[in-house]
Each structure stands twice: as C-alpha cells, then as structure tokens.
C-alpha cells in the first residue's frame, strides 16, 4: 500500500498546485467555451441540427481541452526540472505514471463536469444521464491513460504543443468513435442493449492500454 501512498501523494500535489492558481482550469474552460462558440457559428446550429451534431461537438471539445491539460500537466514537471525530483524518490517509476494519470483524469473530468450543463443548456438536450456519464468517464479514462504516456514523450521534443495531438489523436480514434456513437445512441433514445458492445469495447481499450502504457512509461522517463 506504500505504492498507493506515493501515487496519492503525487495526485495531492497536482490538485493542490492547481487549486492555488486555477491556471489550467480557467484556460481549459475558456478554451472549451470558445470552441463551442466557434462550432455554433461554423455549423449554424439551430434546433433542427443540434441532435445530430451534438455528440461530435462534445467530444471534439473534450479532446482539445484535454490536450491542453495534458501538455500543462507534464510541462510543469519538466520546466522546473521537477521530474528529476520524482525520479530521485525511492519508489517505482510506475507510481509516477499512475499519479500523473489520475491527476489528468481528475482535471479533465472536472472540466467535463462543468461543460455538461453548459452544453445541455445550449443544445437543449439532457446530457446528464447515468449511461452518458459512464461513457464519458470511460472515454476520458482512455484519453488520460494514453495521453499521460504520450505527453511525457511530446514534452521532451522541440515542438511540444504540436507533437502531442499528432501522436495522440490517431491512437485514440477508437475511443472517440465509440464515445460519439454511444452518445448519439443515447440521445436518440436507443435501448442500452444496442450500445453495450461499444461500452465493452471502451473498457477493453482502457484495460489493454493501461497495461501497455504503464509498462512502457519507465522507458520514457529514465535517462
């Protein structure tokens, strides 16, 4: 359980730092709302279109805001050389992975929680449903699992902000497809039985990539 302690310590640190400045949070929120506005005008969203476009708009917004968060989270460690501090500690390197991953998951979920009521109001749809929330959680988990690993790599390259989406988006496409399909299905009122295979798919993705990513994280952070 010492491992869990170390993981939670890292999460505590990230949450504390963010609560102090609220930098990441506010920029993500502003960005997400901006995206909504842009989509509104690009698609000329009127009530008739809304149900069709909503799932896609939702997930594109989450994905881009999430990328912002991932970049910020690892940048903080790298910029002050703090990653060394973590590497010096007598713990398994995978504790760093799980700590950062949980932190990312918490922050992205927090923004999603804020955006959902705004989306619901703007689109005049009920987005606060248990099945939908589960899907959002599973999708965000997949995003955080892969994103934490890839952001650790991207942050070391010369073009870090561009590198992360380039690396991440092709890999998590299955998550986006599944999430959009389930979201659309739920909003269309499809029975859950029809959608359950997508959810199983998401769970499979999350589990497999959790294993792949935590096993390879060591190779990314070592020197």
């Amino acid at each position: 359980m010492n491992f869990l302690n170390k993981v939670l310590t890292i999460v505590w640190k990230d949450v504390l730092a963010e609560l102090r400045t609220k930098e990441m949070f506010s920029s993500m929120l502003v960005f997400a709302v901006l995206l909504l506005v842009i989509f509104n005008f690009s698609f000329e969203l009127r009530i008739e279109n809304v149900a069709e476009v909503a799932p896609g708009v939702l997930w594109v917004t989450f994905a881009f805001a999430g990328t912002l968060e991932l970049n910020r989270s690892l940048s903080l460690e790298m910029d002050e050389g703090c990653l060394d501090g973590l590497l010096l500690a007598p713990m398994e390197r995978t504790a760093i992975y799980f700590g950062k991953m949980l932190g990312n998951l918490i922050f992205i979920s927090a923004i999603e929680a804020l955006m959902l009521p705004i989306f619901s109001a703007l689109f005049d749809l009920n987005l606060i449903q248990p099945a939908l929330l589960l899907t959002i959680f599973l999708g965000t988990l997949g995003f955080a699992v892969v994103g934490t690993l890839l952001s650790a790599m991207a942050v070391n390259t010369r073009a870090r902000e561009v590198m992360l989406p380039v690396l991440l988006f092709p890999i998590i496409l299955p998550v986006v497809i599944s999430a959009v399909e389930v979201t659309a299905g739920i909003l269309d009122g499809l029975p859950l039985g029809d959608l359950v295979h997508w959810l199983r798919f998401l769970i499979g993705f999350d589990i497999i990539f959790l294993v792949v990513c935590y096993m390879t994280f060591d190779y990314v952070v070592e020197s």
């Binding site: 890839l150 380039v166 299955p174 390879t216």
Partner: protein, 232 residues
C-alpha cells in the same frame, strides 16, 4: 562481407523475378472479372500493398520490443526502416484503393462504402507521426527509445481502430451494397503469388534501407571524429 553481399544479391534477384512473375500473372494469366472488368486487376496490387504495410508495422513492433530489451542499435534501424517502407506501401494501397473506388463509387474517397480506406488512412497517419516524432528528437538514444515505445503503442491501437471503424460503417449503411467478388482458382493463385512477391520485395527493401542507415551512421561518426580532431 562476402556472405552479406550474397544475401543482398539473392534477394535482389528473387524479388526481381517474382515481381515479373506477378505482373505476368496479374495482367496476362488472371481472367477478367465479370462485373468490374479490367479495373478489378488493381485489387491484387491494392491488397498486397496493404498487406505489406501492415506486416511492416508488425516488424516495427517486434523490433521496438527487441530494442527496449537489449538496446542494440540495429533493432532501432530495423524499426524505422520498416516504418518507412510500410508507409510507402500503405500510401500505394491508399492510391490504388482510390483508383479502384472512383469508377466503382464515382467518388475518390467514399467513406461510407469503403471503411478500409479510413483504416488505411489512419495507419498512414500513425506512422507518419512516428517519423515526425523521430524528426523532432535530436538525441540518438532518446529518439530510439521514444520511437520504440510509440511503435508498440501504435501497433496496439490498430485492432481497436479496425473494429471501431468496421462497426461504425455498419451503423451507417449505404443504400446498396457492393457485390462481392468471387475468386476463381486462377484468381486466387494470382492473388497469393502477388502477396508472396510483395513480401519478398519488402524484405529486399528492408535490407537495403538498413544497410543505408548503417552506412549513414558510420559517415556521421567519421565526420564527428574529423571535426573533433580539427577543433580542440
């Protein structure tokens, strides 16, 4: 040195001969397909290219794992050489797929009718990203390490991408389905021979590209020694 040269010669000759054989089979031996006519012949090259692309990325996976275990430089060379070759063949698959699609669906990029086009495009993007990642990393050891990790993660995503695109396509069916092509025995034989020829070509290209990369490394090392000798 002698033994290495012989392998290269052997592969060169083998791929030359098998490719010529494949061309003969595809254009002269295989019968013309009933519904699509001569256009269908591109199918042999399209599928073979896609197969080589996929196989190349599998080789990258194996080389990436091997590199992380042993940190031997030649595995890194195999990994990225395979990506380059894989990308080339995947691009060929996309182009031939598009050529096939246009007369069939009257569209260069029929998303709904040919989900495989989407899958192949994603593959292209993933492995382009691999090369971009390498391009933006200066330090040798880190570049090889990161590329190896990405090679593993990228390949792991392929089955998921395949299935999600498949299911997505089934949800958005088109009014009429493409009629399945039935392969006569001679067509099947041509097809299999094509696959073989392309696979041999892949290994030949891999050998050449790896050799080239090794030589480039040696030149870089020599340049460095020269520079350090002159400076100091």
């Amino acid at each position: 040195m002698d033994r290495g040269l012989r392998l290269e010669d052997l592969l060169n000759w083998l791929s030359g001969l098998t490719m010529m054989g494949a061309l003969y089979l595809v254009f002269l031996y295989a019968p013309t397909e009933a519904t699509m006519g001569h256009l269908q012949r591109i199918f042999y090259f399209h599928v073979s290219s896609a197969w080589v692309g996929f196989f190349a990325f599998f080789v990258t996976l194996v080389a990436s794992v091997a590199y992380l275990r042993g940190r031997e430089h030649h595995w890194d060379i195999v990994a990225f050489s395979s990506v380059e070759i894989g990308l080339t063949f995947t691009a060929m698959a996309v182009i031939t797929g598009s050529i096939w699609a246009k007369p069939t669906w009257n569209a260069w990029w029929p998303w709904h009718q040919e989900p495989r086009l989407i899958l192949v495009t994603i593959l292209l993007l993933i492995y382009l990203s691999y090369l971009i990642l390498r391009a933006f990393l200066g330090e040798e050891e880190r570049r090889a390490r990161f590329a190896a990790v990405y090679g593993i993660v990228a390949f792991a995503s392929v089955p998921f991408t395949f299935w999600s695109v498949r299911w997505w396509q089934r949800l958005h069916p088109v009014v009429f389905e493409r009629q399945g092509t039935h392969l006569t025995p001679s067509m099947l034989a041509t097809f299999l021979f094509c696959l073989l020829a392309f696979t041999i070509l892949y290994f030949t290209l891999l050998l050449h590209r790896s050799r080239l990369a090794k030589l480039a490394d040696e030149v870089a090392g020599l340049k460095k020694r020269l520079r350090l000798g002159e400076g100091g």
